[in-house]
């Protein structure tokens, strides 16, 4: 507990000297705040698609000791036909991730070859990259505006041919470094996609997004994720994030 108080003090201190932060530093801190909070954690997610369908999953995350790599375990609890389906991801920012998939009804574990990270996450309006984070080196960042409460950073891809957007802007809270909104413009500069963190709650001293929405303005669809049962520092073991645990979901997800 003490450690966490110290950590938040550091963040608070950082906030007081915010004027000197560069765009890259802001984005790096935002990346930490949204994807690396705590040493590990778990959350139960209800994913509501605008077409009326919903999905229920549990996500486990564990940070590697190097502070860069991460492991994810995504376990489906519903709807009934995909119950027990699971994904495993070993994330290596800057390199290809390792991904596996388990389909219980086919009794099948399959490795997924590295591919485009800007594809839909299980058919929702969130992209794989929204869930696991985008490499910091992939864009150039520019601080375009600083308000009383937020930084506004414009990000432009270094390799424009590799992504579907032209640029995006992120609104980052000054005190928590949680990105509150990201607006994606297409290559003609037209807004077509918005991702927002609509509800934030402090859990175990860590500001945490508990509701987020992704909207696709072109197709008119949207997806809302609601997070609950969020826990940090639960002592997840590395071995949970292995292929064999796909077939045998660990108690952290089945409970």
């Amino acid at each position: 507990m003490k450690k966490r108080i110290i950590a938040s003090l550091i963040i608070a201190t950082a906030a007081t000297v915010r004027a000197e932060l560069s765009a890259d530093e802001i984005v790096s801190k935002a990346n930490q705040a949204s994807y690396y909070a705590g040493k590990d954690g778990s959350a139960h997610v209800v994913m509501k698609l605008s077409d009326g369908r919903s999905r229920e999953l549990t996500i486990l995350r564990k940070n590697d000791d190097n502070g860069v790599d991460q492991k994810f375990y995504v376990y489906f609890k519903g709807p009934a036909d995909v119950r027990k389906m699971a994904y495993l991801v070993h994330k290596h920012p800057g390199k290809n991730d390792d991904r596996w998939l388990f389909l219980p009804a086919l009794n099948l574990v399959k490795r997924i070859a590295p591919g485009d990270k800007r594809t839909s996450f299980v058919g929702s309006d969130f992209l794989y990259e929204d869930v696991s984070g985008r490499g910091l080196d992939e864009d150039t960042h520019e601080l375009v505006e600083t308000t009383d409460t937020q930084y506004v950073v414009k990000c432009v891809p270094k390799d424009p041919g590799s992504v579907e957007f032209g640029s995006y802007k992120v609104w980052i809270d000054k005190d928590t470094f949680i990105p509150r909104k990201a607006e994606y413009l297409d290559k003609n500069g037209k807004l077509y996609r918005v991702v927002e963190s609509t509800k934030i709650k402090t859990i175990q001293g860590i500001p945490t997004v508990v509701e987020s929405i992704a909207k696709n303005l072109k197709s008119g669809s949207s997806t809302t994720n609601t997070f609950d049962q969020i826990k940090y520092g639960i002592g997840l073991k590395d071995r949970i994030f292995t292929e064999r645990f796909l077939r045998r979901p660990p108690r952290e997800v089945t409970r």
């Binding site: 995909v82 009804a105 099948l108 070859a113 591919g115 839909s120 041919g161 290559k187 045998r248």
Partner: protein, 930 residues
Amino acid sequence: MKRLGMTNFSIRYPWVVLGLVLAITVFFGMQFPKVHFDNDPENMLSKDEFVRVFHHETKQKFGLYDFVIVGIVNEKNPDGIFNVETLRHVDTLTQQLLSLRPGSDGLPQVASDKAQTDWQTLDLSPKGGFQRIMGKVFGHDPNRLFDEEGNSAIIGRELISPSVVDNIKQADQGSLKMEYLMEHVPQTREQALVIRDDAMNNPLYKGTLVSEDAKAICIYIPITEKTYSYNVATLVRELTRDWNNGDKIYIAGLPVAEDTFGVEMLVQMAISAPMAMLILFLLMYFFFRRVSLILAPLLLAVVTVVWTMGLLIGLGFDVHIMSSMIPIFIMPITVCNSIHVLSEFFDSYRIYHNKAETLRHVVKELFMPMLFATTTTIAGFASLATTPIPPVRVFGLHVAFGVAVGWLLTMTFVPAFIQLFISEKSLQRLPTSDQQSDEHANGLLPRFLKRVGEFTYSHSRSVVWTTVAILAISVYGISLINVNDNPVKWFTKNHELRIADRVLNNHFGGTYTAYLTLAPEGGGTTTFDEAAFEKKMEQAKAEDKKNIQPWEELSDTINYLDDPALQSLETFRAALPGAPAELFRGLENLSGEDLRDAALDFCDQKTQTSAVEKLLAQKTELTAPVFKRPDVLRWVGRLQAHLLEQGKVGKTSSAVDAIKKASYELNYVKGSQDNDRFFSIPDSAAACGQVYMQLEGMKKKDTLFHLVTRDFQEANIWVQLTSGDNQDMESVVASVDQFVKNNPPPVPLKVRWAGLTYLNVVWQNKMVTGMLYGSLASSYLVVFIMMVFLFRSGLFGVLAMLPLTVTITFIYGLIGWVGKDYDMPVAILSAMTLGLSVDFAIHFLERGREMYKSSKDWKEANARMFREPAKAISRNAIVIALGFLPLLFAPLVPYRTVGFFLAMIMLTSWLATLLILPALVRLLEKRLFK
């Protein structure tokens, strides 16, 4: 005399009449700028027509759009289109289409690279001055590719092209790769061939995106509205103009055909109508030799067209394929009336030598036959108002209006015109009676007519028997008639769209799309007894608590054992006090993770029998939505197989194909003999659901939902036909009905069709049956009653109907015999036949009766009939038949059909009138003139 009232007024106050006509013409002419064109054959059905509503619901439900299909064919390269350069072309075109945006000047701009840095501005305006003017006149802007907000007409995210369609394939270390079929443009032949193999191995692409012979590829460009398709086609032609490595571009699809037809139809109108006018002018000049005289009927035709089209536009109707033909129908009919007047005027002027007197005589003479000829024509066209097709109703009523106007103007405008602009002097110079009778005796036409007259008198019986024989043969011909239509066939054989149609349908599964939709009867809600389930669940839970839970807890403990506990079986056993002995059996020589794995495997065997899991799995199967059920999906697979056997269907695509392919790739094990077995529907609804989930997470989101609804309760089979003929579509529909009847689906399903190809079948059927049984039959009856009334004799009535009966029977018999399809234009023309061919009969019989009155002998009356009256009829027939011959050279088939028909109608009813009527009058002389 009352019937002379209008004419007298016109003779007395010609300026008033002329001024009035001019004023009304200006009024109607002022409506023209409001014109709005509508090229969409879909509007042949009224907006609330069930199939049309259903078609749009289906499009919405499955996110379907109208496509412009771009075929790229390479016959030169041994690898077909799968060579580096062609694939680069395909990718560049794809990027260009995706990037389409309006520039600051409104002209379209495209970028050729993925990063969209290299922009180029295009101007799609035609190079030729004539086309430019036509475009201006008809308000067609070739650069119109955006909506008012500047959004592209192309729906980029739904584009189907190798660069942007998903593929699922095996990659390194038994992993599965999901990327675009042509994720990167190939640099080497080997890479190009990999793309070929990937495409051929995907049932969703083979035969649709790429041809099975690898020589052709199709890009499907979805557009927001059908009316963009002509411009999108122009854009593609412009973007591919500099391709020179043997790649050929073909553009196809019903939307393009329909839109192109609309555009070309207007141009055609602008050429054909004046051309017809010119020929009418020349022919009349040939007969009457007075420009000032024949100006009247020509002006009359123009004025009538302006009034009618002005009315149409003023009333707010769109100019549709049908209504664009109004001028072509009105002109011959109105000219017909004026020719009668002119002929009579010429012949009578020699007697009266006074314009006014001559006019009075002419009108007196012709009033009744013309009135009846006009009213019968009006009846024929107005009867179209009874058809269930809105544009045909509009067409029929407006032509009827035009014919009425034409008659009115003949009675008023023509006399006024003659009064004002033709001097008595110029008329004095007309050939004298003597000269006239010389000409009458020696001219080609008079000599021919004289002989015809004599022939009908001497060979009356053989004329009748020949007619009977022709009728019999024709009736048989009618039984051979093929009711069939296809908008692509509205273009002539060498039109680029027809060529594209042939080429692409030769290489692919077909460019004609229909959607076969399947939905459960009653919405697919399954009744599931929740209460009973809960009860069973409680039992199961209790059971599991006893049998399963201890093993689950045990395996959980094993999972979290630390390394020291796994050193040997002893340490392991010690770490698990109270564990059943059977767990440790056979684990003697193991340690570390191997030991843990082996122990866990044993636990797994024990927990597999969980009653709760079993119940949950059962529930999943029982409550699964229809199109997650393996039995239903397999049935769909069989239906698709049946469709392919049917012959006209080149290719079908459904969620079943997507599942099979995904299942195959997911289960694929390198070197296994078993792989092919997995190209199938998995065995449970849960398994299908899980495979679907993988398809949902593909690179291109939502592709799956073109084939199945998001709740998986309804499915759509994309059926591609190699022919857009009604008959072929109908045979496919019948074949599906038959299959469903013989192989009932596992759950009752509503099987319904949508798609443009199917829509065309519906309206064309309505048109044919509506025309044939509705309007043609009823107007035939109406005309007959009018004839009886006109001649005050049933027998004369029957006689008057004969030429038209023979004409219709003969012409439709001919269509049957030569095998021409009975299509939309043919159907419309039946109304025309009725109105035109009764004309001659009325004139002949009415005049014949007059002549008989004075001579009391048919032989003499007959000889006189074959002078003036026969000449007027013949002039009419020749002018109209020849006047519309230019239509035969039109690039659009319906215009050719109209041209050919007009000539045939004229020729046949002319012959029928001049041969059959006099022959029958001779035979029935006594009974007719009691």
